[in-house]
């Protein structure tokens, strides 16, 4: 495959990542809205003498959060933005440090493949029969988050390696932790 094709694929991948970032932002808006609704229902409406209970809010918020966390972490793989110890990789001579980084990425890809596999089994084995306690929806809706995110993690990690190779950059210098809080 030529460099041009690879660059096009990377661009497409980054479009997907951008869309997912937007999506998890919307996810946080949903979480804010439903948890705030829960507070309103408990205090304001009860105080006003209107009694509606909303047991579904917590469940929605928790499930949306699981998706957001896993997808967010998957996006982080594209530019190596997950929290890692960079100290040793940068302290050793460059060729060794780069080799360590590539080894780490290869191990991660193998682990993500395992996660896709066991995550999918988990969907099939448990998700089909299990219903959420309040809303009674099949838990497959939640459990798909792991194999889906792990799949994106594989693509993004490959994307990171491809970017380093075609732009001839030091793999250790691409991305890095944008912000830790």
């Amino acid at each position: 495959m030529g460099n041009r094709a690879l660059r096009a694929i990377l661009r497409a991948l980054d479009e997907v990542n951008r869309a997912i970032l937007l999506l998890i932002g919307i996810g946080l808006m949903v979480i804010t809205a439903v948890v705030f609704w829960q507070v309103m229902v408990r205090f304001v409406l009860t105080a006003a003498g209107i009694n509606i209970s909303s047991p579904w809010t917590e469940e929605v918020a928790r499930y949306v959060l699981i998706w957001c966390v896993l997808l967010g972490a998957a996006v982080g793989c594209r530019k190596a933005q997950l929290i890692a110890l960079e100290f040793l990789v940068r302290a050793v001579p460059a060729p060794l440090g780069q080799a360590m980084r590539y080894a780490a990425l290869a191990i991660c890809i193998a682990f993500f493949a395992l996660l896709v596999n066991v995550g999918w089994q988990f969907v099939v084995v448990l998700g089909r029969t299990e219903l959420s306690p309040v809303m009674q929806i099949p838990k497959t809706w939640v459990y798909w988050a792991l194999p889906a995110a792990a799949g994106l993690m594989i693509l993004n990690t490959l994307g990171l390696i491809v970017e380093a190779v075609i732009t001839r950059q030091d793999i250790r210098d691409i991305g890095g932790l944008a912000s830790t809080e």
């Binding site: 970032l21 937007l22 998890i24 932002g25 919307i26 996810g27 946080l28 808006m29 979480i31 804010t32 948890v35 705030f36 829960q38 507070v39 205090f43 917590e58 918020a61 928790r62 499930y63 959060l65 699981i66 957001c68 966390v69 896993l70 997808l71 967010g72 972490a73 996006v75 982080g76 933005q81 997950l82 929290i83 890692a84 110890l85 960079e86 100290f87 040793l88 990789v89 360590m100 980084r101 080894a103 780490a104 191990i107 991660c108 682990f111 395992l114 996660l115 066991v118 995550g119 089994q121 988990f122 084995v125 448990l126 939640v142 459990y143 792991l146 912000s179 830790t180 809080e181």
Partner: protein, 423 residues
Amino acid sequence: MAMLLIYLLVLFGIGVPIAFALGIAPLAFLMERRLPLISIPQVVFDAMDSFVLMAVPLYVLAGRLMMTGGVAQRLVEFAVAIVGFVRGGLAAATVLTCMIFATISGSSAATAAAVGSTLVPEMERKRYPRPYAAAVVASSGELGVIIPPSVPMIIYAVIAEVSISDLFLAGVLPGALIGLVLILVNITVCSVNGYGERVEFELRAYLANLVRAAGRAVLALLLPFIILGGIYGGFFTPTEAAVVAVVYALVLSVGIYRTIAPSALPKIFSEAMFTSAVVMVIVGFAFVFAYALALMQAPQQIAAAIRGFSSDPLVFLLLVNLFLFVVGMFMETFAAIIILAPVLAPVAIQLGIDPIHFGLIMIVNLAIGMVTPPVGVNLFVACGIARISMEQLIRPLSIHLAALIVCMIIITYVPWISLALVQ
């Protein structure tokens, strides 16, 4: 168990993200025991399916909104109005602003960034050496995680299964202690070295200025009362208080101060969620690691080993202080809490140490890790804002660091400071 730790350290060493290293290290053990690997998704989902953890992205978001929403600026003016008249007043005001901002923000880096970006240029204008200004911001920024709300406290509470409200409450007096000590240190250092300008004190002007600044900051100053009052009045859970803080910050910054355009909101929400996801995914996989440790009965073995060495709680705490200090130099705070809390907290409880007090010791100890080189998030933030190198920061930082260490020792060996407010 030794093998498990060796795998983990090797994976950390070659730079595997901490979240995944925690999931990969126990694989060999799980397969050797012929345990079905499907337990991995099970454990990950159990860990993340938590209403308590939801407080993390919400406090991160509230902090972001307050930071970009011009709230920090008003708090700075208020703090300067209070302590600005003394020699070194701007440095003292930096500490005070961090204390106030910490009651809204749950993170050190956000606190240091919000306060530093306004006050470092201001200190420079008033003839403070730039490295000194950066050192003040780096050291007082750690109050962000000690004064509630605090994201690391939420993570500790989830892992060690203690009450978040109690842990938050336990942070109030230690945070006040550290803040006061830092203010005194700054006034002393600035007086001795002649940093900053002397300001003529005139009572009438002082009061007029104070009233004006308080008026401008009053809406922002209400928020801590809503958050903490709501939690301790029993009105909200910490997660619900977080959402109230978000909505309040939205109303303030978008509606009243109009410092955030509605069109900027999607980006702020996305970034807050992304930052939180990067931390929370570690929690998910840390439970896989903890699951393997529990199967090996590792906490019991470690506890037995420590008791074999000494069963004196004071000796144990001293070892914990030293160990966490060294860990804090190299490791990121969340990772350290997530890995070490499940191992150390049970031992502490067996030795008769209050789990809330122990949690606070861990937080204070690791918060110092944010200010110790070579790896310390507050140092990176402060150096970035002041445009100086880490080497330039070390000398002015050392006296602040010494003060923080003294505070840590006091907080460790005087449990009353942490537990006085906790019923």
